[in-house]
């Protein structure tokens, strides 16, 4: 009996000390309400917690629409978790504001990653994503054939003239309500993500990336003016609707209202279901090379975390190809590596969405890597919405430039 008591006490003590040794790491994630995404992230956490005895990750999920505000409030209240996720273009702002610290992971492990998911700021890696997203010009092979259009390729995308000729042909056919659906129903980050690549392909930008200290010349130079005139012409000349309700955005192309739709890989599977002959075409080249946006949600570590090594261990654990493939299969996003893509249904060679991997590799350009981006994105969105609704192009872009410059000045250059 005595022996049993001693053994039991020893076992309890050992269990107790092991349990104490496992340090809890808090984690915030933006996937609440998305059942598939939640299941995958919970699986990764469960696997990580079971794989070692030092760390235990505990998750709090937030709805995406409320996530950024929650993080900012958490930072103000001094209540950030150890691990958080961050939208790629927002990361520099959070790093600059002192919400995040650099990752402590072996960068050799992310060498094979697409450039978009790597979140560098000030020369340091602050965040890393398991996937990227890409936008394509969506149409049907039947439409291309009926309208007598060449199928553009990554090597030979449409020029501006070819693109406009395609829109003219679609408009002249009388078959569609509008030739082009740019996605005006989606507001917020969609504007800079989806539309600033057009501006960049014209030769302009939201801000001058050589210094990040001014938008002068980038957002209101000749190239930007040409972009603005073209953008306004899309709506003024009846190629696209300047306003759109979300339901139309979700179902308009499938209902045959539009010949071409500017949409992301996340919507591709539904489109393929509606039309098996759907094709995803590369962005047109408006003169300075074809461009699409890059960088999606990524993992990072809060500046207040006392356990950056544990947080980094979790993030490094999550970077395994099998998890990249799980996320891709679950929510349709582009896995960050080619080896993971080969493990997926949609992005493996010959898969229905494999073209998006090539688009990301060939055309992706991250949004301006600056803390000021969060303000610049909103200014850009407003300017483009105003121009679409008939505002004078030159004065609108000049005003947007002034607003961005004033914000940069007010924030002491944002550390550039």
């Amino acid at each position: 009996m005595k022996m049993f008591t001693l053994a039991a006490s020893a076992a309890i003590l050992a269990w107790g000390s092991a349990a104490q040794a496992q340090q809890t790491l808090s984690m915030w994630y933006h996937g609440a309400g998305n059942e598939v995404e939640s299941k995958i992230i919970n699986q990764i956490i469960a696997d990580f917690n079971a794989s070692q005895a030092d760390w235990k990750v505990e998750l709090q999920s937030f709805p995406q629409a409320a996530y950024n505000d929650s993080v900012v409030a958490g930072a103000l209240a001094g209540n950030l978790p150890d691990i958080l996720d961050v939208d790629g273009p927002v990361m520099p702002n959070w790093a600059w504001a002192g919400y995040m610290q650099p990752l402590q992971i072996d960068e050799a492990k992310i060498e094979a990653f697409l450039p978009g998911p790597k979140g560098y700021w000030d020369g340091k890696l602050y965040s890393i994503g398991l996937w990227d997203a890409a936008v394509a010009l969506v149409t049907r092979q039947a439409y291309l054939d009926e309208l007598g259009l060449r199928t553009p390729t990554l090597e030979q995308p449409w020029t501006k003239d070819e693109f406009m000729a395609a829109l003219d042909a679609a408009k002249a056919s009388g078959k569609f309500e509008y030739a082009f659906d740019p996605g005006m129903a989606w507001t917020g980050e969609w504007y800079p993500y989806a539309f600033s690549p057009f501006l960049q392909s014209f030769g302009g930008d939201i801000v001058d990336r050589t210094t990040y200290k001014t938008a002068e010349g980038a957002l209101n130079g000749d190239a930007a003016m040409a972009f603005g005139e073209w953008w306004q012409g899309l709506f003024k000349n009846g190629y696209a609707p300047a306003t759109q309700d979300p339901a139309d955005r979700d179902g308009g192309f499938a209902a045959g209202k539009y010949a071409f739709s500017w949409n992301g890989n996340w919507a591709a599977l539904n489109t393929l279901k509606a039309f098996p002959d759907t094709v995803f075409l590369p962005s047109p080249d408006f003169g300075n090379g074809p461009k699409i946006g890059a960088a999606s949600w990524q993992f990072g570590i809060s500046a207040s975390s006392k356990y950056p090594e544990g947080a980094s261990a979790f993030i490094e654990f999550a970077l395994q190809d099998k998890y990249l493939a799980d996320f891709s299969n679950g929510i349709g996003l582009i896995p960050a590596t080619k080896t993971a893509a080969a493990m997926t249904e949609n992005y493996k060679d010959g898969g229905p969405m494999a073209v998006f991997f090539g688009l990301t590799e060939a055309q992706a350009l991250v949004r301006p890597v600056t803390p000021g981006y969060v303000v610049q994105a909103k200014v850009f969105e407003k300017a483009l919405a105003d121009i679409a609704n008939g505002a004078d192009v030159a004065s609108t872009l000049d005003a947007a430039t002034d607003e961005i410059n004033a914000d940069i000045e007010k924030n002491g250059g944002y550390g550039h």
């Binding site: 309400g33 995406q64 409320a66 929650s70 958490g74 103000l76 209240a77 209540n79 339901a247």
Partner: protein, 292 residues
């Protein structure tokens, strides 16, 4: 002559009812749209949205959206949290603000008018202006509970209740209403030796049903619709209220049927509360001129 007068009266009555029915339809149709849409699959919902079918239970009708809504989000938790936070805040607010209104109107004390003016001045401050200082304050406040002394009120019910118990508008409503009560009653009670508490409890409260109902409904609506504050102070899902929960349904591809099902479910407590207090609310509007 009498027949012409009767005809005119009849015509006026018909016109009046026609206008009232039209107004009622305008107000009721969004609710009917919400309920009917909650029963339809997304594709049908979107197809029907441009015509009268949107207001009719026709087509592929089912409760599937409700089932899906419960799978997407812990709806019952959100509703429970909102009802709890709102209920407790309304009850405590009525007690505290009516007592404050009573003290401002019936009790003479130094600084009364100045304090009332300061309190009313807070009405012009939108909540957004104090949200961040308030957040930083509650994040560091002490609390003594089952776990002993702890610091910080985040992720709790108290952080959603206590800052909203007292507010200038509710006190103002009580002050205005109490001013119209007959002062002789209070004076007589004082002469008879009644305490302030007895006067408040036995005389003023029984005479103030309409204003209690009005204040309750206004406070209920404000609290039940809270979004910004709970978003800032509740990082744990278990404490989130219905309006933050609504964001769970806005993914990249919005499931509108589920959104309508969720909205239908969270509207029930508001309608029930309003219908329960409707008569007193209308009586109060008639007597105080308050517009909700």
């Amino acid at each position: 002559m009498a027949m012409i007068a009767a005809d005119n009266r009849g015509l006026r009555l018909v016109t009046r009812y026609a206008v009232l029915v039209l107004i009622a339809i305008i107000f009721v149709f969004p609710l009917v749209f919400m309920l009917m849409s909650s029963l339809k699959p997304d594709q049908q919902l979107l197809q029907d949205s441009g015509n009268l079918r949107a207001f009719l239970p026709v087509g592929d009708i089912s409760l599937q959206n409700y089932t899906d809504a419960f799978q997407r989000a812990p709806v019952a938790t959100f509703v429970f949290n909102s009802v709890l936070v709102t209920g407790v805040t309304v009850a405590l607010s009525l007690l505290l603000c009516s007592a404050a209104g009573f003290a401002f109107v019936f009790v003479r004390w130094r600084g009364r008018d100045t304090l009332l003016a300061l309190l009313l001045a807070t009405l012009i401050l939108p909540f957004e202006t104090i949200a961040i200082p308030l957040l930083m304050m509650v994040a560091n406040l002490p609390w003594v509970g089952m776990e002993g002394l702890t610091w910080g009120w985040l992720n709790s019910y108290r952080v959603q209740i206590i800052p909203f118990i007292a507010d200038g508008l509710t006190v103002f409503l009580f002050v205005q209403y109490f001013k119209d009560l007959p002062g002789e009653l209070i004076e007589a009670a004082r002469v008879e030796g009644a305490s302030w508490w007895q006067i408040y409890r036995k005389i003023v409260m029984p005479l103030s049903g309409p204003i209690f109902a009005t204040a309750a409904i206004l406070k209920f609506l404000v609290m039940y619709n809270q979004y910004l504050w709970p978003l800032m102070v509740t990082q744990e899902e278990g404490y989130r209220p219905v309006m933050v929960g609504l964001q769970y349904f806005f993914q990249l591809n919005v499931a509108w049927g589920e959104v309508m099902a969720y909205l239908s479910m969270i509207t029930v407590p508001v309608l029930a509360f309003y219908l329960y207090l409707q008569k007193a609310f209308i009586a109060s509007i008639a007597s105080t001129g308050v517009k909700g």
